[in-house]
């Protein structure tokens, strides 16, 4: 039998006689959900999972009053659980990777490298080269140093925003806004270039 949202909320009050039972049940939900959701993630052994679940429970109980009831309580709890778990796993995976090093070895090479698809017609390849040159030029001239760095790390190197943010001394939310601003600038600049959206769609958007 499943608890309703109201039952979860009242049972998870520390004064409730059903508090311990509710914690046991919530722990089971988190265990089942997180191990299924994170099955493919490296570095998630049983011990790590238990540590993470403990963290999540400690996090959830005091802020139970912030639950707004727009969804099932277990969905809300798992949302926090997934966020906590992935933040930890990302950090473990990326903490020894230096942002500056990978930018130096890779991201900036992108700006001087050249690529095209030999299976495309010569015409299409020419347009693609032109667009690539434009893109590289605009990334170099339109973006600030920080925007360029973040864009290269996230889009070219596949580094999580969260870890890029940590190494750049900011947080994920601010980094998203920084990248959003960078995309807006690039979009405006591309639209000002002498290119038609059809060129872009042809070479990049469609496959």
């Amino acid at each position: 039998m499943e608890r309703t949202n109201e039952e979860w909320l009242s049972d998870l009050k520390e004064s409730s006689p059903r508090f311990d039972a509710a914690i046991v049940e919530l722990r089971l939900v988190l265990q089942k959900g997180l191990s299924a959701g994170l099955k493919k993630w490296q570095g998630l052994n049983k011990e790590t999972l238990e540590d993470i679940i403990q963290d999540v429970l400690v996090k959830i109980v005091p802020k139970i009053d912030t639950f707004q009831g727009n969804c099932r309580f277990t969905t809300w709890a798992l949302k926090i659980g997934v966020n906590t778990a992935i933040t930890e796993l990302r950090h473990r995976r990326w903490r020894d990777v230096s942002l500056d090093e990978i930018i130096e070895s890779g991201g900036m090479n992108f700006l001087s490298g050249n690529m095209s698809n030999p299976s495309y017609s010569p015409e299409k390849q020419t347009i693609q080269h032109l667009l690539m040159d434009t893109l590289k030029r605009l990334i170099t001239t339109e973006l600030t140093e920080r925007q360029r760095k973040a864009l290269m790390a996230v889009r070219i190197q596949g580094m999580p925003l969260e870890e890029v943010a940590r190494q750049m001394g900011t947080n994920r939310n601010s980094l998203y806004k920084l990248l959003h601003d960078a995309r807006l600038r690039l979009k405006k600049a591309i639209l000002k270039e002498d290119l038609t959206p059809e060129d872009l769609i042809d070479s990049f958007i469609s496959s």
């Binding site: 089942k32 959701g37 949302k79 490298g113 690529m115 596949g158 925003l161 939310n173 998203y176 990049f204």
Partner: protein, 106 residues
């Protein structure tokens, strides 16, 4: 394969990904270059002025994921969350894990 282009590409990729253990699966296929660029350009050209940030996305993600599970049309119901997930690899990753997690408990 002695295609000079391929040679050049693989050298370029090697240089690009000298650090070990990247999570980018696409690069192992050797064709990440154009895909990555395409993704970047698509991301740029579909940018909107009114995007929500990660905190706002997180706030609504539980409702969003329940709509997805119920098979509702999410681009109509919560277009800004949908748009954020298309532009934010971190939130998208969390959404996908949450979806899997919820499917396992229901």
């Amino acid at each position: 394969m002695t295609d000079p282009f391929q040679k050049k590409t693989s050298r370029f990729l090697k240089k690009l990904f000298t650090f070990a253990g990247t999570r980018n699966k696409k690069m192992q296929k050797g064709s990440m270059d154009m895909d990555t660029i395409k993704q970047m350009v698509r991301g740029i050209m579909t940018t909107r002025a009114d995007e929500i940030d990660c905190a706002e996305c997180f706030e609504q993600l539980d409702q969003f994921v329940e709509l997805v599970l119920a098979g509702k049309n999410i681009s109509d119901a919560m277009p800004l969350v949908q748009h954020h997930l298309e532009h934010c690899p971190d939130c998208k990753e969390e959404f996908e894990v949450l979806l899997k997690a919820l499917r396992s408990i229901t």
